[in-house]
Every structure is written in C-alpha cells, then in structure tokens.
Symmetry: D2
Subunit: 257 residues, 4 copies
C-alpha cells in the first residue's frame, strides 16, 4: 500500500476561509465545536471536509485531542476515514418584501425576546401551511447538529446527526401542549412576527444577530451545500453522545422498586 504524505497546505484565520487559493483535501480546525461552526459558516458555498482538533474539553464535532490528531496522521494520509455530510440551513430575513439578511448556518436559527423581556407571539408556517402561533420566550429551528445545543436545553429531542430533518422547539411556550416538532429538511419553515416589541432579535448560530421589526418573516430551508466532517475509524455518533450526556451515570439515587 502506497504511503501518502500529509502536507500542510496553509494556515488560515476563520475570516479568510471562503477565499481559498489552495484546494485543501481536509481543513484541520483547531479550537472547539464553536470553531467548527464558524469555519463551516465562513466557507459558505465552498465546503471542505473539516477535522476538529479540540483544545478544551472534547466536543460533538471537534472530538480529537491534539495528541490523538498527531497519532492519526498516518490514518489520514492513507485515507482511512469517512467524510460525513451534515445538514446546513439557509436563513433569509424578509422585510417589506425585500431580503434584509441572508446567511448559511449549521446549528440553529432562533427568535428570542432579547431586550424586550416580554412574551413573543411567533407564527410558524411549514411549506406555507400555518402550524400555530407560539406565545413564548423564543422559538428555535435547529438542524440535527444543533439539536444537542440550545434546542436540547429548551426541551427538544436529540436528532441523529445525519437525519434530514429540522426540529422546531419553543422556549417556555405558554400553551403547554406545544411540543417540539420534527419535520423534513425538504420543507420550508417560516417564523413570522406580525407584532413584535423592540428588542426581539433573530439569532443565527448564536453569532449573527439582527433586531426584528413588525411584519418580518424569517425563512429557513436546507442549504445547497452540506457541512463535511472527517470521521476516523472507530468513531460513532452514539458513543460520542453517550459520553457527552453522561449516560453512563445514574443521577437518581433512590428508587426502592
């Protein structure tokens, strides 16, 4: 078997990475899950396979320590890895019939009360069909990758990372039967705020923020590109999940049944 060499093609800051003059086969992202997120969004329509090297505690996406990365250079050189595609979204903010903002993202889009500190009424439509109007502190539309972040904290389910679906999770919904909804990634999700207090904000991947005005429409759909993650042999989503969520331990002590 021919032993290939791993060659460092270049070092880029996050803000340079949508203007490659090289064509890397793998982008090694050094940092944490957040760095993967930023890199992914920054690459825009020119996604490259990313390999996450974690400088802090291990994440869902960046799950190699620097030492493990160094040890796996041989594997990488001989292509003993899989590239796994992950759903990305395209989010558009429509105001008075114009596109006010457009962004790709990997985690989630949310509308949050922000400085208003009040209940928000958010209409949800899927494929132009009205679903319901949430009275809530906020509403999250999340990818599978994002399902273990803000959506999970708000009470949402865990979506297997390769599922082609979005989950809609309300934050503190006042109608108690408003449970998280999972629908196909081929659908178009719209959040509308006909009347909205000052301070209510659109948040994309926790990083892009845009104040909303009455009548604004936020549209989320599958992006044309997918996020690509390099997964070495032996990797499994469920073992990562098990470890990250502490499923090995049993926090309730005392059940006499």
């Amino acid at each position: 078997e021919q032993q290939e060499q791993v060659q460092l093609a270049g070092i880029l800051g996050v803000h340079d990475c949508n203007c490659w003059d090289i064509e890397p086969q793998i982008v090694a992202v050094i940092g944490g899950d957040g760095s993967i997120l930023r890199t992914c969004r920054a690459m825009g329509k020119q996604q490259r396979p990313m390999l996450g090297i974690n400088l802090g505690r291990l994440g869902f996406l960046a799950d190699l320590t620097p030492a493990e990365f160094m040890q796996s250079l041989g594997e990488i050189a001989s292509r003993r890895y899989r590239i796994v595609d992950h759903l990305m979204f395209e989010c558009r903010l429509l105001r008075d019939g114009h596109e006010q903002l457009q962004s790709l993202g990997l985690n989630e889009v949310s509308i949050q009360a922000g400085a208003s500190l009040r209940l928000i009424d958010i209409e949800l439509l899927v494929d132009r069909v009205p679903v319901t109007t949430y009275r809530c502190d906020g509403l999250i539309v999340s990818t599978p990758i994002g399902s273990t972040a803000h959506s999970l904290a708000a009470g949402g389910p865990i979506l297997k990372q390769n599922l082609q679906a979005f989950v809609v999770t309300p934050i503190s919904p006042h109608t108690l039967s408003n449970r998280p909804l999972v629908d196909s990634a081929d659908s178009i999700f719209e959040m509308r705020v006909p009347e909205v207090n000052e301070g209510v904000t659109l948040v994309i991947d926790g990083q892009i923020r845009e104040p909303l005005r009455p009548g604004d429409i936020v549209e989320i759909r599958r992006a044309e590109v997918a996020c690509q993650l390099v997964r070495l042999e032996g990797w499994s989503y469920y073992s990562t999940l098990h470890r990250k969520l502490g499923w090995g331990s049993n926090p309730v002590s005392f059940d006499s049944r």
Copy 2:
C-alpha cells in the same frame, strides 16, 4: 370529465382483510383511529388505501364524520384525493437465536414493566451500535404516526407524519439526560433485556402483548410496505394537529410580562 361511480366492493370484518378476493381501490374503515390501526396491521403485506370514517370524536387518521364522508363521495369517485404513504415497522422478537414473534405495525413498539412493577434495564442499539442502557418504566420506539400517541404522553416530540424516522422515547427514565432520540427509518433498532423480571412485556401497537424473558432481543425496522391513507382536498396535517392538541387556546392565564 367522466363521472365515475363509487361502488361498494364488499364489507369485511377486520380479521378477514388480509385475504381479499376483491381488489378494492379504497378501503373505507368505519370506527376510529384504533380501527385504522387494526385494519392496517391486518392487511399485512397487501396494503390498500384506507379512508377513515369516524364514529366517535375525530382522530388523526380517521378524520371524516359519516356526513362528511357521504358528501365527499363525488370527490372520491372522481379521484380528487391524494394517497399518502406512512411508515410502518416490522418488529421481531428473538429468543435464543429463534424468531419467537414477528409483526407489522403502524404506531409503536414498547417494552413495559407490566406486572413486574419494577425499573427495567433496557439496552438500546441502533445499527448494532450500543446507544445506552435505560433504567426506566419502559421504552417506546415509535413511527411518526405513533408519535402523537404513547410517545407524546411520555415526553416525546411530534414527528411530521411523512417523516422517514423513528423516535425512541423512554418512560420515566432515571438518568435525567436521557432525552428522546430521533433516528432514520433506515436504521435497525434493537432493545435488549439481558436481565428482566417476570411481567415485563413487549407491546406492539397497544394490541399485541408478549411476555419477555432474560436475553430477549426486540428488533424494529422499516416494513417493506407502507400504510396508505386517502386524504381529500384541503386536508393538512398541521391543521389536524392544531385542532387535536388544542393549540388555539392558551392554557396559562396569567403572565404579567
């Protein structure tokens, strides 16, 4: 446009409907959601499009009143309807390497404490990969159709009816981070009970029950056939959901924000 006639091909009890000597274009199911469920399972590998006529309060599946059905005969005759496919599962109980039981189903498979009245330890594997061991009162693997039944009551999300996915929802899990999991319908789900008290029971669609023994393996995968529902013009899943879950009302009265 040629006006076709609706013709009554025959009347069958639920237990006859897997041995058609006729080939009906539509099976009108009279009863409720439960009747649709039974008919669907009884048709086995010879699924026919079902139209549900509800004698009680309207359901998710049987959502026509008798009067609405009579009014829509013209529509039906002229084929102004859609046939919507819904995920069904095949469940197998494996004991000592043999197949102890095999069944199709539409709603969910669950393992429940039953007469044991004790916590159960249930190992979940997806595509042969161990996910976690739940300590719980029970574990549910549900289709999208089933996601608004037992799984919802146990804290699961709502899956759009045409999603190709299963949701795994624990009942009273003792590890508090054990949230519902949504994974692709192309995966194979296994529930294993290496040690199990007497009384623990496998339940399929709430109707088939089989006591479990230590070492039993319950395997759930996508069925080769799909359940077919006739949907008239104007039908929408989300408006049904909205109505059934009372999303128009606001049960929390008093928030001064």
Copy 3:
C-alpha cells in the same frame, strides 16, 4: 339576619393605592390578573383584601365577571366570603454591599438574558448554602401564585396557592438534571452573577426591570405582609385550575392501548 349595605368608599388609580385616607374593607380591582398584581404591589405594607372583577377572559385571581360581581353584592355585604392570604416576596438587589433596589412582589423574580442573548451563569444559594450554578437562559424564583405563570411555561410544577414555598425554575438549563426545586418560604434565596454580560436583567413581576452588573446579588425572601384575596362561597382553587388549564379535554387523540 342584619342586611348590611355595600358602600363605595372611593375610586383610586393603581398609583394612589399606597396612600389610603380611607380604610376600605375590600378593594374591588377592575381589570384582570395583571391589575391585581399591580394593585397588590402598589399597596405595599398596607395590604387590603382584594376582589378581582375581570373585564377580559377570566383569570386565576380576578375570577368574577362584572355581572357575577353585581349579583354577589348581597353576599359581600353580609360577609359571606373568606379572605385567603397569599405569599408575597421581598426582593433586594445588592451591589457592592449596598441595596440598589428593593421591591415587594406577588408573582416571581427572574434573571433573564435580555439583550445579551447569551447563556448566563447564575449561582443559587438557599439559606447561604450554595445549591448549584445554572447555565441557562434565565432563572425564576416564583411564589405559588406565580407558579402558573412564567415558571409553568419554563417547565415548573403547580404550587397550591396557599403553600408556604417558593419554586426555583431554570429557563433552558444546559445541565439536563437541573429540575425545578421547591423549598420553604422561610428560606432566603440568593441568585448571584459573578460574571455577567451586558443586557442581563433582573425582572420583578414582569414589570420592574433592572440591568445587572457583575457581582450583583439578588435576594428573595418572604415579605412581612401577605396578599389578601376575597373568595366567595363555592370558590375552589382546583376547579379554577382545572378550567384554566383545559384539564377537561384530552389533547392526545390516539392511543390504541
């Protein structure tokens, strides 16, 4: 039986009601639950029994229609009512060892992310004992009266209105085992924010708002006074609860068990 007369002692706006020059036996509050809340806070240490007359849809606190009120004037005149005491809190904001703000309240105290739109780390102490540090979108300390408002939407339990307890409910907690806590109203609750982003806000009864700074301490304890509500014969908390939360209906349609 001596027939007493109901006499109108005066008409006051909410902002006048802590400087009575009369001593009303009952304060009839016209508006809704929010009006009761404002009146209660405005009365401060001179609480009087309130009777809520609801101009909109019926509330938990203001549960008489104008017509019902007119019909019950005889009952009121002959004192055929109970006065029920309800827990109020005193909230103090301590900054650099000084009391920055002090307020009575009836519903809840919360710290919310507000304009920061970020996760907040909030330390909770009860009777000076550290409980945990929540990573969350916010944290609510609620009275029984407030337990059916913001706390309920965030996942909290319902506390019977006359219980002498507070419930601490996190909003979107990132540690999934962070469940709502119920502790005695005789305890002192402290929320501390050693490091806090700009925009994080203290909110009292949804009406008083104060931006927080790093190191701020929010202290909540039982107020010396109690809110007094007039309850006519036949009133019961649980029947109100049943009606307000729609417990008569059954929103999940389709369980074949």
Copy 4:
C-alpha cells in the same frame, strides 16, 4: 466535656424493629437508602433516629461510608449531630366502605397500570375537592424524600427534604397540561379508580403491592409520626443533591452563544 461512650444496644433484622425491648438512641441502619426506607416503615409508630451506613454507592439518606461511620463515633457519642424530621404518610385503601389496607410510608404511593398495560383513568381529589381525572400510565403521590425517586423520573420537581408538602406527579399523562402539583402535607389526597382494568396495582414505597378493583379509593395523608434522620456536622441537603444529580458537570456540549 464529658466523653460519652457509644454502646451497641443490639442487632435487629428489619422485621423485628417494631418490637423493641430496648430503647436505642440511634438506630444505625446498614445497607442503603432502601434499607432506611424499610426500617422506617417497619418502626411504625415508634420511630427512632436513624443513621444510614451505606455499603454500596452513597445515597440521599444513607450517606456515610463504613469508614466515615467509624470515624464519627466520637461525634456521635458526644451528640454533635442534629436529628432532622422528615414527612411520612399514612396510606389507606378503601373498598366498599371498608379499610382493605393501611400502611405508613416514607417515599411515595402510586397507582400503576401493571399487568393491564393500558391507560388508567384516575380521579384525584384534594381535601374532597375534585382536581382532575388523569388519563395516564400511573399517578404518584410523593413526599419530599420520595421526590428524588420515581416522581423525579416521571418529570416531577425536587422538594426540599424538610418541606411539609406532597407532590402529585402523573406518569405519561395524556393531557399535556397535566403538570406536577405541589400541595400542603396537611391536605388529604385521594386517588379514585371508578373503572379499572385487572392488573392495575397500588404500590407503596415500591414494596407493598395491592391489586385494585373498580371503585377503590386510595387515601394519603400525613402520618402522625415523622422519620428521624441523624445528620452529622457539615451535612447539607443541597450539597448531597448537587453530588447525586451530577450538577457539577455540564452535559450539553455545544452552544455557540
């Protein structure tokens, strides 16, 4: 200061401990939380302060290792401990106007579907006032001590151990607005099953089981006696809670806000 001696008064099995011929000042319970539970129930109306020595992993109640116990003998001899009272309940099963069963308990009373494997309709009354009819897999009435056991797994809040209250937590309630209820320990709680399938079972502290019949009434009220636990210096409920529920860790990894 006079140095007292610790003297072993005797060794008793659980079933002997309601017929003391000695009067121990402290009952050292060797085992785990379950052993405390059994001992407490067995002592009946002659409660003695218990000190839990844990042979397995530490519990909420039995939280001394054998080594810690040996080290604390001096403390115990010189009475450097507190005795903390905990709410116990008395449960009565009424059938056809007769008392079919009566038991003290420390954790919880529940009605569970058991072998019926079906939804149960359970009416709840508090102080003879109807609250609601739950359609559910079961219903739990729990003490503060029991609130971290089955009730927590079913979605209930955590009640501080010395609170004088019960929490009512439904298991998989089909009405999604059926949230856990916390009410005063001075109230009388009744669960009624006018129609009930065979197999539905009353369970007390996970240990006493009694099949229910249609028309049965289960009544729960505060016991006349309280469970007494010996707490050494430095003990705090919240630090135990923090440790047992893993609140120091943060299981959600990846929130980019």
